[in-house]
Subunit: 139 residues, 2 copies
Amino acid sequence: MKTAGMTRETVTARLRAHGIQPTHQRIEIAHALFSRMEHMSADQVLALVNERHAETSKATVYNTLKLFVETRLVREVIVDPAKVFYDPNTTPHHHFFDVESGEITDIDAADISISGLPALPAGKVAAGIDLIIRIRANA
Amino acid sequence: MKTAGMTRETVTARLRAHGIQPTHQRIEIAHALFSRMEHMSADQVLALVNERHAETSKATVYNTLKLFVETRLVREVIVDPAKVFYDPNTTPHHHFFDVESGEITDIDAADISISGLPALPAGKVAAGIDLIIRIRANA
DNA sequence: TGCCGCAATTAGACAGAGTCCAATTCTTAT
DNA sequence: ATAAGAATTGGACTCTGTCTAATTGCGGCA
Ligand SMILES: [Mn+2]
Ligand SMILES: [Mn+2]
Ligand SMILES: [Zn+2]
Ligand SMILES: [Zn+2]
């Protein structure tokens, strides 16, 4: 993911590729995520897109993030009991979660192998496999 | 964990073994968890302990669950973006999480091996490794 | 260009989980 | 029985997220 190349035009094309009507607000929200490539909460996104001057409401940020998740443009990360994080990295990967600072770091899934998993319950399919390594400062 | 043997006396001994002063409320809360051996939210615990007649406040349930987690009598499970679940099973294990029903099921960690994990960031220790298989109904 | 109809956005009320505090009630030791 | 510290409590409060009804924006078409 080339952060430098993430102009609003690039973001717009990416929205279209996912079948999303590229409105001004959606472009700003996607740009906030993809230009930084960081795990962000809805509040952080809201603050970022309204940094220069207010232009996007809280409702739209939540609507849009939900839309992005449904269309798999971004991914949800459930690690913090207080809030959901949105992840612009949709390649298979796992996470370190620093329980003290709240920092989330990616771990490439290509390097990792998980064996011995039991069969899924009958009639169920896997919707995702999340591996979270909770870390904290030594001693 | 023998559910049948989980009398209030057994629970009281277990609290003492963890250095927890066994008050009436704490015994009821621990009994709710250990007699059922199910993953429960704070609200579910609150409802259970007040089933017969009101005897424990919301504040005490939250205080007590936090105390139980700190003393490692129970474990937190972060899978549902809306609420924390408390797990009376403290043996190493992972979880299936049915994203449609909210059901949480244990997976014994003894059967599972995870390899290829990267080194922890400098100065950090692992506080826990959570593997969550999100599942949903087929088709 | 000017309308139309639908899609998207919005403010603000609302809901649910969890925290906090100061006042009260227990426990336990003396 | 008393006193001191520990635990409990109601209720206000915060925060994340949802909902709704009203408004605004936008693409297609005459
Ligand atoms: Mn948020
Ligand atoms: Mn709860
Ligand atoms: Zn990530
Ligand atoms: Zn469990």
